[in-house]
Symmetry: C2
Subunit: 123 residues, 2 copies
Amino acid sequence: MISVDYKDKRPIYEQLAVNITAMALSGELKPDEQLPSVRQLAVQLKINPNTIAKAYAELERRGVTYTVTGKGSFINSDLSSAAKAQQSAAENNFTEAVMQARLCGIEKSRLLEMIGEAYDTDK
Amino acid sequence: MISVDYKDKRPIYEQLAVNITAMALSGELKPDEQLPSVRQLAVQLKINPNTIAKAYAELERRGVTYTVTGKGSFINSDLSSAAKAQQSAAENNFTEAVMQARLCGIEKSRLLEMIGEAYDTDK
DNA sequence: ACAAGTGTACTAATCATAATAATACAGTTA
DNA sequence: TAACTGTATTATTATGATTAGTACACTTGT
């Protein structure tokens, strides 16, 4: 389910974009499946339609969706570019985290331990 | 050297706090060593003294420094609480990065590879 | 005592970004 | 035609970061 978290410091439109991208990549949203309309989702989430529209524009810009004026926004069948971007971001983030941990004096062996746990957590 | 990066999205005072904390934990700043004065550092970095003051207040709140009005701000001899907080934050960050990577479909073996590289990078 | 240096406190103004609000327009569908 | 899509535009509000200017309490060296 599409949702927003007001405790999250990221802007709402960014949360929505990331959220929907994840749902598309996981298969929770199928190729060519139509997203809720801008106005409909705005009512459902109790936020402004402009904020939804901004999120949808971002999704199209990132290659996650395609849009037809008058019809709606739909999940792309080819998500490879979005998937690559997401993986690249995740790898950069991971590398940063490793270097940060090293600077804190955390041993490499400790990181190897933590991977074992974290990688198998459900969530 | 204490510096700020305007390409960084974090606020300046936060960058300064993190920067100085790292220098204290690495030993680049010795215990009881005096930090540059608020006004002096403001001139050096060409930013407002209030921003420096905010960073110094944060550092004291986080247990990195102690402050004597009229004298200045100095590095704490006991940095254990700051070190623990920093390590804890690094571990949380690392765990998040691992789970993000897993959600992107990155294999555990790939992460193990990357640790090998990232942990030995200089920077 | 004095002057110059410390950190601190306070108020106001400026700036950027996010979000809201209201409206209008172009295209699609039944 | 009516009701739905996304898009565009302008104005307004809210928030946080930063700047600006000033004032105060304390310490140090003369």
